[in-house]
Amino acid sequence: MNIDEIFDYTSFTIDREPHIVLDPQVCVGCDNRGCTNACPARCYTWSEEEKKMTFVHDGCLECGTCYVVCHRNAFTRWRYPRGGFGVAYRMT
């Protein structure tokens, strides 16, 4: 299984409006960044060169991992997508 091909396996109705928003400044000062490895959909990427955390909500499985592992509360928003949007499991 290649996580880069998640859209081939799992269906999403992508909302233009992200349901999770980060304050990137908080991530710069984070000593852990557990979100980057713990997120099962690899939505979080830390760039050491740019000193910048990027979050992409498109392939988010809405599992809750980042909400639990982020000990700096970097979220200015963490809610579920608007009704009808987000991950859509068929048979799991």
Binding site: M1, I3, G34, N37, G64, T65, R79, G83, Y89
Partner: protein, 432 residues
């Protein structure tokens, strides 16, 4: 949108739909609010649906009616190291006769069915609706608002069945504002398509029989375990990690899942299958000690939202506890409608019913299990010890044998230390 109900249920999972069903059958006007386009669309689990005694009361033919996959007749545990494994299985005649002990299911089908049963009993299902805020009037809970929709749904009481992160319980001040990663786990799962006959032959199954296996020692040193379940014509395979341990490991769930699926003995089981779907979800694994406030003024918390999940390392129970708590929440709301008292005190009967049920009794009994499972030796040294011992026992290569009990002590001393062995045995004894 501004409609008055007798009760609002947030989340049409097993807890929410069981609550809605119970209340609707008692004649209450119930709104069952679900953020997916249909109930079950957002839900996954890596597990077995155990018996649901409270739903069996409502549907004596539950097991005939519900959309289920295979009934589990064979349960196994596998201790695993790099390229060796040691397995035990139990296959019981009693598990092959009704009432069956457990089933595999697909959540998008099962959860949808249960919600539809609630609708048949008179509940109003509102899909594509993410609950946003709790509305209060005159110091009392009066309803909820829906994200991106105008107006509100009003009712004197809300059942929060919105899953493990329960923002509804948080907004009501019933759960802690943050979670302890040590009390949480994440499960990742691959659904693998495979012809039914191949599954039957490969796992030694006939008719609708199913196999469920748990694995230890397959998580790259991260605290956790693996699972493999047979559906009719697919396999569910996945890993569960304790989040505190995963966070600091630097390892990723998908790389570990790939490594698990490539382990030679696992590879043989899933070979020929095709990946159909990948899913993940957080699980509340803190047990009794992480249960939040279950009742507030005008609100009751049920299912994963109330952390009602029993992960002892032997059985993994969640849906059954969720459904049972939902039924009890429904009964408590029905009782409150008779007295007209929706205060914390008026709804307290839920707490009493739950305390008196197997849900809280089991969680209390196994309250030490989550702590016992926070022991890295279970996930590294013990699987090595078991596999190493068994390999030695069965290896015949001309070298003279050693006395087995001496060998065990020697290997245990090397791998874990005798003091640790004694402490771990004591801890497991007390926890289970």
């Amino acid at each position: 949108m501004s409609t008055a109900y007798d009760a609002i249920v947030v989340g049409a999972g097993p807890a929410g739909s069981s609550a809605a069903l119970t209340m609707a059958r008692a004649g209450l006007r119930v709104a069952l609010v679900e953020r997916g386009t249909f109930p079950g669309e957002k839900n996954m689990f890596g597990g077995v649906l155990h018996r649901l005694p409270s739903l069996e009361e409502v549907f004596p033919d539950f097991w005939e009616r519900a959309p289920l996959e295979r009934h589990i007749v064979k349960k196994g545990v596998t201790f695993m190291t790099g390229d060796s494994s040691f397995s035990t299985t139990i296959e019981a005649g009693n598990f092959d006769r009704p009432p069956y002990n457990g089933y595999t299911i697909f959540r998008p089908r099962f959860d949808r069915w249960l919600a539809e049963e609630a609708v048949k009993s008179g509940a109003t299902l509102i899909t594509r609706a993410t609950v946003d805020e709790l509305v209060s009037r005159n110091g009392r809970l009066a309803g909820v608002t829906i994200l991106d929709r105008k107006g509100e749904l009003s009712a004197p009481v809300v059942v929060a069945a919105d899953g493990v992160l329960s923002f509804t319980a948080k907004k009501a001040g019933l759960r802690q504002p943050t979670f302890d990663p040590g009390q949480m786990a994440v499960g990742v799962k691959a659904l693998i398509d495979m012809p039914r006959e191949l599954i039957d032959d490969r796992f030694g199954l006939v008719r609708d029989q199913g196999f469920a296996n748990e694995f230890v020692g397959c998580t790259g040193g991260v605290r956790g375990g693996g699972f493999l379940y047979t559906n009719y014509d697919s396999l569910s395979i996945g890993l569960v990690f304790h989040l505190g341990s995963l966070r600091t490991s630097g390892k990723t769930p998908y790389d570990l899942l790939n490594a698990f699926m490539e382990q030679p003995q696992v590879d043989k089981m899933i070979r020929g299958g095709r990946l159909q779907e990948y899913s993940a979800h957080v699980i509340p694994e803190g047990g009794f000690n992480m249960i939040p406030e279950l009742v507030g003024d005008g609100i009751i918390v049920a299912g994963d939202a109330a952390a009602l999940c029993n992960a002892t390392g032997v059985n993994l129970e969640g849906i059954n506890l969720a459904s049972h708590s939902g039924v009890l929440a429904g009964r408590a709301v029905v009782a409150a409608h008779q007295t007209g008292d929706f205060s914390r005190r008026g709804l307290q009967v839920y707490r009493e019913l739950l305390d008196d049920s197997y849900v809280i009794k089991d969680l209390k009994l196994y309250r030490k299990a989550p702590h016992m499972l926070h022991n890295d030796r279970i996930y590294n040294e013990y699987p090595e010890l078991v596999c190493g011992m068994m390999e030695y026992i069965y290896r015949i290569d001309g070298a003279p044998k050693e006395n087995l009990s001496k060998l065990f002590l020697k290997t245990a001393r090397e791998k874990v230390g005798l003091k640790n062995l004694a402490a771990d045995a004591f801890s497991a004894w007390r926890a289970l």
